[in-house]
Symmetry: C2
Subunit: 261 residues, 2 copies
């Protein structure tokens, strides 16, 4: 499939089962989202968790009412079929991966679409910065920190961060660029000494793959969308559904529309 497909055409291909792969690099310029789906009686606490922790959990959209499968502001979406791969969790345990939620759908499910780092990586690349995980062709390295999220009901846990190394001047530029995009994690939350946020060894990420860091580079850390997934698993709702890593909800929103200035 051509990468420069429109979001609508890509979702159509996903909906009919033609496309089940990673969405990274597809529909460039358009916002891709992390997905979380929860029963209504868990949803208001999760919404409060997102509101209280906007850097790891930047809410881009949610369904209007329990049971709704549409997300009108994000495009012509049927959330049961328009994400290439879903992960189903029961009582906080991973249960199975699926490419279609139709058989599971219930009229009490609430959909959350959260901003994802693809949007700010695109902005960094557009400015001429090198994004190491992209140039090395690996998943971005992610680490559990010792930073507590603000809890909301059963949702709590440590913040997970992604790391990209930069020379200092580029790190400063990255802060400027990402500040414009608060709904896709915004500015970094830390840079420099990883030990100060509870990371022992950059060579051993908790998720994703390690990348090389040169002597004249600083590790720069962004709040990461894995944070809400960890909080969600810890809360152990009877049913929770997320996207599979890298298999995002591709929306009709443009990355540039997320810029606050």
């Amino acid at each position: 499939m051509r990468q420069d497909i429109s979001p609508y055409d890509l979702r159509q291909a996903i909906r009919c089962g033609e496309f089940t792969g990673h969405t990274s690099g597809f529909a460039p310029g358009f916002v891709q989202c992390n997905l979380a789906i929860l029963p209504a009686d868990w949803a208001s606490d999760f919404l409060r968790f997102c509101q209280a922790n906007p850097k790891p959990c930047p809410l881009v959209g949610m369904s209007n009412s329990p049971g709704d499968t549409a997300l009108p502001p994000l495009g012509d979406i049927d959330i049961r079929t328009d994400v290439p791969s879903y992960r189903v969790f029961r009582d906080g345990e991973f249960s199975e991966e699926r490419t279609d939620l139709s058989a599971l759908w219930r009229d009490d499910l609430v959909v959350f679409a959260l901003g994802c780092s693809f949007s700010f990586e695109e902005a960094l690349l557009a400015d001429g910065l090198e994004v190491r995980n992209i140039s090395q062709g690996v998943n971005v390295p992610m680490y559990r920190t010792d930073i507590d999220c603000t809890p909301a009901g059963p949702f709590k846990g440590k913040m997970v961060v992604s790391m990209r190394p930069f020379k200092a001047a580029d790190a400063i530029r990255a802060v400027q660029i990402c500040t414009r995009f608060p709904s896709v994690h915004g500015a970094p939350i830390h840079l420099g000494d990883p030990g100060l946020i509870g990371i022992d060894d950059l060579g051993v990420p908790d998720y994703g793959e390690a990348v090389s860091i040169a002597d004249d580079e600083l590790p720069v850390f962004w709040a990461c969308g894995v944070t809400p997934q960890v909080a969600l698993e810890a809360a152990r709702p009877p049913l929770a559904i997320t996207h599979s890593p890298g298999h995002m909800l591709v929306t009709d929103l443009r990355n540039s529309q997320l810029a606050v200035l």
Copy 2:
């Protein structure tokens, strides 16, 4: 003298010789400027130097014509008398300090007013950040780097930087705040390892005084207004006049008016 005096009243007190001290902390909220005065046949190269090196040499205002002693957009100013102390350089060598330029004034002199770190320090403090040189009551430490300025005619040299230590999260916040103020040096130009910009020992500043840095802090470096003074001395014009360190031109511009957003 009360610190919260108006810029106009402070300049009047300076003009009549009542006030000859440091201006730091006086007329809070208003822009204070570095000063450079040059003969017209040196001024256009110096103007190009400022234009080519906007981070160390952010031009806030200049006289309309050679010989003009006024700077209308910056207030009711007579530049011969309204700065508490001047330094006179002849052929690049420091000659004398004066509190009045009337006896020296010539109809070929051109006045440059350059942004100063007082403005962004005020913005950092207003955001709740601790500015170490202020809390320790010393002049900010400044260092010669190995970064070449873009030369313009006889004006050239290494960039001088000021340093303020911050925890990483505050350093990121400082980048965001200072980005709003490009005409007072703007965002930092470096953070972290001082050796990467040619600084051997933070404990031995080239100008100002050393400040303490905690283990969990990063040194953050801003382009500094001493840079144009160094370039000016190196160029060895027959006559050059600057303010004495800390004895700034206090203008009627508000710091908030310099914010680009």
